[in-house]
Amino acid sequence: MDSIPAGFEPGHAEVPLPGAPPMPFEDVYRRSRDVVRAIETVIDGKREAVETALTVLLAEGHLLIEDVPGVGKTMLARSLARAIDGSVSRIQFTPDLLPADITGVSIYNQSQHEFEFKPGPIFANVIIGDEINRASPKTQSALLESMEERQVTVDGRTYELATPFVVVATQNPIEMEGTYALPEAQRDRFMARISMGYPDPSAELGMIRSRETSSPLDALTPVVTTRELAAMIHTVRNVFVSPPVEQYVIALIGATRRDPDLRLGASPRATLQLIRAAKARAALDGREFVLPDDINALLVPVLGHRLIAAGRSAATAGGSNLTIAEALARIAAQTPVPLGSAGRS
């Protein structure tokens, strides 16, 4: 199988994966099932959200979870972090949070007569950014910059962030009080956005019973080590993307740019992230190659938050999920999958 060089994205340096040879596809499939099962002991009946979150993790992207308060956004983020045996930190974003509260500060060490860097919460494998849209734009941009560059520069010195590194941010719908809407440019940095939605009645009933005594999160033990996770990510990078699928993605992305219902189409970064997410989804399925179905399944999570529906004000842009989802569904239905012609060999 051809190895597609990962990290070809400009501004995204090849991240070294310490001591992690690629994991066989069957193992990727098995381990990811383990993770999903572990998370589902905490979040019941949200298989799709959980799988998308894991996809983003394996695709080395960042995840934005958007929904009303109390549906388990933070719980999903925390259980995902918990299932991986890595360092976890949690940042509660508030309007008075400063950039240094995220990245860390240099403090003068009097005994050693030098400035010593005190790393902030960003130096962890999994960062949970709670209610990211409540922080000031300045703080938001500090987080988003480190997400993109995977490094932090404090006082002229650059510090590499941990590997693997994933930010799981949650945000309330922007119409709510006391929030600073993330601008498009910043939303674009998240690989995918998912909504939790309310649980169905049976899941909610099960939740009442299981939460009565203790939080199931406490019982959740890590199922994957950081090293294993790095190996899985390595495998994902090796997933094969065939020319027909590439053409299909190009056609879909092009259609979003031409669609009359969309004011802003998908960016080239979206194209790359869509392919990358699709590779992760294929690997999660134990497949060594990407199918058009992977692309279709990820259209709304990966593209939904980047597009702006036509005829909407900028303030509500990105929030009209329904229209955008409809437009994407229509585009997917109308774009034929290029299968080439028979007898090519």
Binding site: P244, V290, P292, N296, T335, V337, L339, A342, G343, S345
Partner: protein, 739 residues
């Protein structure tokens, strides 16, 4: 769907219905070659438009495609009721059981009328009913095809059938105009019916069907496959005189029946007599049914005086390949036995008929009587025209003068009716006339009609239909009651060595017509004007008076003058000739015409089967590719997809193979999963996998199995995967599934 789109779709539906209506009316117009007047067209047009309008109106209101068809069917029945049997319906509109009884009656009358008339036929009640009902039915079919099945291209097939009727019924009609007009209307239907203009495909589809509409017009006129393969029998029952020429011109001899008889030399087997000479043709005047006339006791033949000698014969007949409703029996039958079904005799002609049973497969015994009048007895009536026989003297107005003039010239000088008849017979059997089955067709005067007679008397070449018709008409003009009898000449005798009985074999070439003239005291007397065919070669010369008849002595001494021979209708018939004098030429012509017929039939079938053939070709190409090394999973997948489309499966709009496979979930086949995986590996992992053609067959069979019977038929004859290239229906369907 937006309101605008809905409005647009409705507008198109109305337009399409309008175009279809126009095409139907124009196609019906082509029947004008066969039928007189215009009433039948107005009536049929009314019914057709009623069906289409009701369907279109319902379509504008109700969405389920079944309702318009139902409404159209109701409207069709009402329209047919109003036009054809309003007196038998409730309020003149609502059909009740009596209405349908009236319909049945009309069907019978229509069939009878078609059977007895030549073209152009008088469009009487029965024919009008048949045309109207057919128009309503075809309107219903084309409406369903155009709207329900969304295949306007297929509307051409029913139209083609209508337009082809004239050239099929009447071989001499080869008028391209109706075909051109119908083709133009058909193009209009295509233009309006196509939603998306995929130029080339539409053009190609149109060209194919227009060619199908036009090709028959360019071919030389032929008779359709009436016994062409030799497999079918002959039917003299339905259309005696009109079929006669065709039977004689058959390319191969077909044995109609065999018989044994006590009559020396065999018997003429008559099916019926034609006494009404309307102008276009001779026809049986009496078409009523007589269920109370059982054939085991038939009254004696009319007009025979007590002093005329009568012979009684027994004849046993076995039908071989003869069909129809008229029973061939020798005249005059006294009793018929051994028949299955209900048979009756007609009081006027003493013909034996059945409405329910057929001649086919039957054998029967007949006791018949034959009068043997002497020549003096025949002369006794002089030139008197008996009272009450006016119908047998009636001649149509359009009878050319040459008929009367020739009759006067030939026989006007003779003293008695009998002598005149003999003179006429001698005239026809003389050297001036020749026998030919083909000359009338070539010169375009085939048939028995009044105008044809003029041409026949000028050309002096024809076959029994012409000779008998001419002699009967001339006899009438001389005041002798005359009619034409239709049936078979005695046939070819052979001796069965075991039982030492003479068996007569009667074939299609023995089909015959002869005039019968009425003489007081003798009844109907058979004459034979056709040269070289049938009984007395020299009718007027052979004159052995029956010495055993005492009445002969009682009346007058038998004439001894050989120059004035008396007719003996019962004299020994000669061996019938199998072919006319120009028989070998006829054979050649037949073969040519058969070749053309084969070409025509083949071309028609080819056009109809074109979609099926294209589909089969594509399938076999794919399977062949699968069999070779380097066969593609895509071939297998395309075959599955096309099969699904042929059987009207939903889910063809699914963009990815996996989604399409999901739409076939009810098949639940491991083979389907293997095919899907093979395709995915080949297309998306660049890892070729061998595909087992058996998997493709299994999945395709499973798809067919889950389809309805109608869908399966459609999948074979009108595969949607082929037709959708011409009719942009797939696009519409994909839109539907996406929205």
């Amino acid at each position: 769907m937006t309101k605008r789109e809905l409005r647009e779709r409705r507008r198109r539906a109305w337009l399409l219905s309008g175009a279809v209506a126009l095409a139907l009316l124009v196609s019906l117009g082509s029947l004008g070659r066969l039928l007189q007047g215009i009433e039948w067209w107005l009536q049929a047009a009314f019914a057709g438009i009623a069906v289409l309008a009701a369907a279109a109106g319902t379509r504008a209101v109700l969405r389920w495609p079944f309702w318009p068809t139902l409404a159209g069917a109701v409207a069709g029945i009402v329209a047919v009721t109003v036009t054809s049997a309003p007196l038998d319906a409730f309020l003149g509109i609502v059909p009740v059981p009596e209405t349908f009884a009236a319909f049945r009656e009309l069907v019978a009358r229509g069939e009878e009328s078609i059977a007895s008339q030549a073209t152009p036929a008088r469009a009487d009640e029965g024919i009008r009913f048949l045309v109207t009902a057919a128009a309503a039915g075809i309107a219903l079919v084309v409406d369903a095809i155009a709207h329900w099945f969304r295949s306007p291209a297929l509307v051409g097939i029913p139209l083609l059938i209508i337009v082809s009727v004239p050239s099929v019924v009447h071989p001499t009609i080869a008028d391209p105009l109706p075909f051109v007009l119908a083709a133009a209307c058909y193009l209009l239907v295509l233009r309006v019916g196509a939603r998306v203009q995929s130029g080339a495909a539409l053009g190609l589809g149109a060209a194919v069907v227009v060619a199908a509409l036009l090709v028959p017009a360019m071919l030389p006129p032929v008779r359709p496959a009436q016994g062409a393969g030799g497999g079918s029998g002959i039917t003299t029952g339905l259309n005696p005189i009109l079929d006669l020429g065709a039977d004689l011109r058959r390319s191969e001899e077909v044995v109609a029946l065999t018989y044994t008889t006590t009559a020396p030399g065999g018997v003429y087997l008559r099916t019926t007599s034609l006494d009404e000479f309307s102008g276009p043709t001779w026809s049986p005047g009496d078409v009523d049914e007589y269920p109370d006339n059982p054939v085991d006791a038939i009254p004696p033949a009319p007009g025979r005086a007590g002093d005329v000698a009568v012979d009684r014969y027994e004849t046993t007949v076995q039908s071989v390949l003869l069909g129809g409703r008229w029973l061939p029996v020798p005249y005059a039958p006294e009793s018929v036995s051994g028949l299955d079904g209900d048979w009756y005799w007609e009081p006027e002609a003493l013909a034996v008929r059945s409405e329910t049973a057929g001649v086919s497969g039957q054998d029967w015994e007949v006791v018949s009587t034959e009068a043997r009048p002497t020549q003096e007895q025949l002369r006794a009536s002089g030139t008197n025209t008996p009272a009450g026989f006016e119908p047998y003297l009636r001649l149509p107005d359009e009878l050319p003068d040459i008929v009367r003039e020739t009759a006067q010239e030939v026989a006007g000088a003779e003293a008695t009716s009998f002598d005149r008849a003999v003179a006429l017979q001698r005239f026809f059997r003389g050297p001036a006339f020749s026998y030919s089955e083909l000359a009338p067709v070539r010169e375009d005067y085939d048939g028995s009609g009044a105008e044809v007679l003029g041409e026949f008397l000028e050309e002096r070449s024809g076959y029994c239909v012409h000779f008998s018709s001419a002699m009967a008409a001339m006899a009438r003009s001389l005041g002798i009651p005359a009619r034409i009898s239709v049936g078979f000449a005695p046939g070819q005798p052979s001796t069965d060595s075991e039982t030492d009985t003479r068996i007569y074999t009667v074939s299609s070439y023995d089909a015959h017509a002869w005039p019968e003239l009425w003489f007081e005291g003798a009844g109907w007397v058979r004459f034979e004007p056709t040269p070289g065919r049938g009984a007395p070669q020299n009718f007027a010369q052979a004159l052995p008076d029956d010495p055993t008849t005492p009445e002969n002595e009682a009346t007058q001494a038998p004439t001894t003058a050989p120059s004035a021979p008396a007719p003996t209708p019962t004299s020994t018939p000669g061996v019938p000739q199998q072919l006319g004098p120009d028989g070998s030429a006829a054979q050649n012509d037949r073969e040519t015409s058969n070749a053309w017929m084969a070409v025509f039939v083949l071309a028609g079938l080819l056009v109809l089967a074109a979609p099926a053939i294209a589909r089969l070709a594509r399938r076999s190409r794919r399977f062949a590719a699968l069999g070779r090394a380097g066969g593609s999973a895509l071939d297998a997948w395309d075959e599955v997809r096309d099969t699904a489309e042929d059987h009207g499966r939903p889910g063809l709009g699914a963009p990815t193979p996996r989604e399409f496979a999901d739409s076939l979930r009810d098949i639940d086949s491991a083979a389907l999963d293997r095919l899907r995986l093979a395709l995915e590996l080949e297309r998306f992992a660049e890892r070729p996998v061998d595909v087992d053609p058996a998997d493709v067959r299994e999945v395709c069979a499973a798809i067919a199995q889950r389809a309805s019977f109608a869908q399966r038929i459609r999948a074979v004859l009108m595969p949607a995967s082929v037709l959708s290239r011409f009719v942009p229906r797939l696009a519409a369907r994909a839109d539907g599934s996406a929205g």
